[in-house]
């Protein structure tokens, strides 16, 4: 499996973030992980990372979050000035199996994939190959 340099996780569920990090560690998925608790922190963080040229290769995004949801993050991300934006892959992760929601999320061109929680080692393998 090709090792990813840096990933970013935006999710308010700390237990789930722990689970993802632990899986990534076990799979030797990436070199570094940045975490944000909600969409607002996420978009601000990404803009800062853009300034210091430390943008992640992949963003793992939750949908249901307080303050700023995953949806709002996607809208802000689309509007923000970020260099080589199209190189950043966004993987949406949610517990929702609502087909309307899945369809809506797939309509976002910048979203590479949608994964129903929990993420599995085979999901990570697939994502690494994108």
């Amino acid at each position: 499996m090709k090792k990813i340099n840096s990933v970013c996780i935006i999710d308010d569920d700390s237990i789930y973030v722990y689970i993802v990090k632990r899986l990534m560690d076990e799979c030797n998925f990436c070199n570094s992980i940045i975490e944000f608790e909600n969409g607002k922190e996420g978009i601000e963080g990404i803009i800062n990372l853009n300034a210091t040229k430390n943008l992640p290769n992949i963003i793992f995004l939750d949908l249901s979050m307080p303050i700023m949801s995953g949806w709002e993050f996607l809208d802000s991300f689309a509007k923000a000035t970020i260099s080589n934006k199209e190189d950043i892959k966004i993987i949406v992760m949610s517990s929702s199996i609502n087909p309307n929601e899945i369809e809506m999320i797939k309509a976002y061109p910048m979203v590479t994939d949608y994964i129903v929680k929990p993420i599995t080692p085979s999901d990570l393998e697939k994502i690494a190959s994108y």
Binding site: D13, I15, Y16, Y18, I19, S95, S96, I97, E101, K117
Partner: protein
């Protein structure tokens, strides 16, 4: 003129000149000896004709006529009351004549005395009248009362289907052809009035023909009086059977249609666009709840009946229909005298009277209030069902989402725990396990609240003093109040008793307080003001804070919805307000919100009072 007189006249050309008849005197060579002035006038002769040849002067006469002159030159007399000739100009010509020869002492024919009239015009007129009588099937009749002599034209017999030479032999016989009973009695009565009072009649009755058929005729009669006594009746008899039967059939159908429309409460109306003249039947007035006596015109009555909000729309729709667009069905409301609303449906057909360049609309009106009301109810039910279905689907997705979140975490953490050997890490995982189970518990608790708040409790309401509830809730969270340095001002009206469910009121106020504190502004301590006012059967409570506020343009109606998940308490607002809304609506009240970002939020709650 009698031949003998003419013979005497022939001896005196001057007398011939002065006679009023159209007479000419010819010698045996058929040259004019003399003619009357009438002759000159009749045949438009302008020059002196004495001594001139008959046919060179009378060149317009048909050549065939000369045969009669030749015949008389042989000593014969000839008379004709009217004969048709082929004229010289391809026209028929009718002549009436009387020709006598005058003879000398030795019986030798010395010349002719001709009385001649061109009767073409009269004959044509007569023919036209005959033709007209045949076409219109009109016959004439007369009856002399002294000797009961009756004459009538052939057409009367044709109509009566009698032999053409039939003539009634008595006055009574004239009447036996009318159908016995009402018809015969009518004519007898009218004839009697005519004879005694001089009043003419004109009526339509049934008669029985010679073949036993019933035929509708128009009979018209006039009396003639001499010395105050009626001597003669005369008049016409017209066959009107086809028209009358069609008319009776139409009347019967119109009557039937009228009964049908009256029974089915259908109004009929008509409207001409050019002069804006509308005509309503009685039912149309009834449907619009208007009295025709109260209005100058039907249009005015309609204008005053129609709901003002529908007026322009109906005019536009009618205009569209007149151009051939739309379905031709126009619905509108009318306001009745008791202010209630009636829904009417008008079905319109436009047609153009080309010769008058006038658009005419004609149609029917029915009362569709019942249909409209049930349609409205059905719509409301459909919407309610739709909303409930939607909210159930949302609820199902939310439950699924939240339970899945916890289940995932529990299963993953448990998996890690089974493999983890490091004590320190195991402690961490155990803490996560506990946190997850607590969250799950809280989720299930919240779900329960949502389900409960949807239950119908209107029959379980009891009077509750809001003041006590507010103070009780405030005391319960006093620790938070102190911690956040929050303050609360109460401006309650003297009577704050409302009908409600105690647990709901506790839950609603607790939710409002905790929201205000949770979403307080960072730069100022939370300050809350609660105000109540009495308004009729309701009590209005406004709950105002000075917190972060909500961008209602962005969230709007969503803030009372189940859009936000509630599996983590950090973001309880969405679900909290959903429950609050359900609870207050279950108690027959309502909740609304106004807010300004970074200024504060006001929730306005309406309660029912005892």
């Amino acid at each position: 003129m009698a031949a003998s007189i003419l013979s005497k006249l022939a001896l005196n050309p001057k007398l011939i000149r002065e006679t009023s008849n159209s007479v000419a005197l010819l010698n045996s060579k058929l040259e004019f000896i003399s003619c009357s002035k009438t002759w000159e006038n009749n045949f438009e002769l302008k020059t002196n004709i004495i001594g001139k040849d008959f046919f060179s002067v009378m060149y317009n006469l048909p050549k065939d006529f000369s045969a009669f002159l030749q015949y008389c030159l042989k000593g014969n007399d000839c008379y004709n009351d009217g004969k048709k000739f082929n004229g010289n100009n391809n026209e028929f010509i009718w002549l009436k004549w009387s020709i006598n020869s005058w003879k000398g002492i030795n019986e030798q024919v010395k010349g002719l005395i001709i009385e001649l009239d061109n009767i073409t015009k009269d004959k044509n007129k007569e023919a036209l009248i005959k033709e007209a009588q045949i076409v219109s099937r009109v016959g004439g009749w007369e009856a002399y009362l002294q000797n009961f002599r009756v004459t009538w034209t052939k057409m009367v017999n044709i109509i009566h289907e009698q032999p053409l030479d039939y003539v009634p032999q008595s006055f009574e016989e004239c009447f036996k052809h009318f159908k016995e009973g009402e018809h015969r009695d009518t004519v007898l009565r009218l004839a009697n009035i005519a004879i005694t009072k001089g009043t003419p009649w004109d009526t339509e009755v049934i008669m029985i023909t010679g073949k036993g058929k019933e035929v509708w005729i128009r009979t018209k009669g006039k009396p003639e009086f001499i010395n105050g006594k009626c001597v003669r009746l005369y008049g016409i008899c017209q066959d009107i059977n086809d028209r009358k039967i069609a008319e009776l059939k139409y009347r019967k159908e119109a009557e039937r249609a009228k009964i049908a429309t009256t029974a089915s409460n259908v109004g009929i109306w008509q409207f001409t666009t050019k002069d804006r003249i509308a005509t309503w039947d009685a039912m149309s007035y009834k449907l619009h709840h208007k009295n025709p006596k109260d209005y100058k015109s039907t249009y005015e009555a309609w204008e005053s009946a129609i709901h003002p909000d529908d007026f322009l729309r109906v005019l536009n729709e009618a205009f569209a229909v007149s151009k051939g667009e739309g379905s031709g069905v126009i619905e509108y409301r009318v306001i009745l005298k008791d202010k209630s609303i009636r829904h009417l449906r008008a079905v319109v057909t436009f047609f153009t009277e080309t010769e008058k360049h006038n658009n005419k609309a004609i149609g029917v009106i029915t009362d569709i209030t019942k249909e409209k009301e049930s349609e409205q109810k059905l719509k409301e039910y459909a919407q309610l069902t739709g909303e409930q279905n939607n909210s159930l689907t949302n609820f199902a997705h939310m439950v699924s989402h939240d339970l899945r979140s916890h289940a995932t975490n529990l299963s993953m953490v448990t998996g890690f725990l089974l493999e983890e050997r490091k004590d320190e890490e195991r402690q961490k995982l155990m803490a996560m396990l506990r946190e997850s189970t607590e969250s799950l518990n809280s989720t299930v608790y919240n779900l329960n609240e949502v389900v409960q708040s949807n239950a119908n409790v209107t029959n379980k309401l009891e009077p509750i003093n809001l003041k006590e509830v507010i103070e009780n809730v405030k005391n319960n969270i006093s620790a938070t109040f102190i911690e956040k340095n929050a303050s609360c001002i109460l401006k309650l009206s003297s009577n704050s008793i409302v009908l409600g469910v105690p647990a709901y009121l506790d839950s609603i106020l607790l939710n409002l307080f905790t929201n205000s504190i949770k979403y307080s502004a960072n730069d100022r301590p939370p300050s809350i003001e609660i105000k109540t006012t009495n308004s009729g059967k309701n009590l209005i409570l406004s709950f105002t804070d000075n917190g972060k506020g909500i961008d209602l343009n962005k969230f709007g109606n969503k803030i009372f919805g189940m859009n936000k998940t509630f599996h983590r308490n950090k973001n309880a607002r969405g679900v909290g307000l959903y429950i609050t809304k359900n609870q207050i609506e279950a108690m027959g009240g309502s909740i609304s919100v106004t807010s300004e970002v970074n200024v504060g939020t006001t929730f306005t709650l309406k309660f029912i009072t005892p």
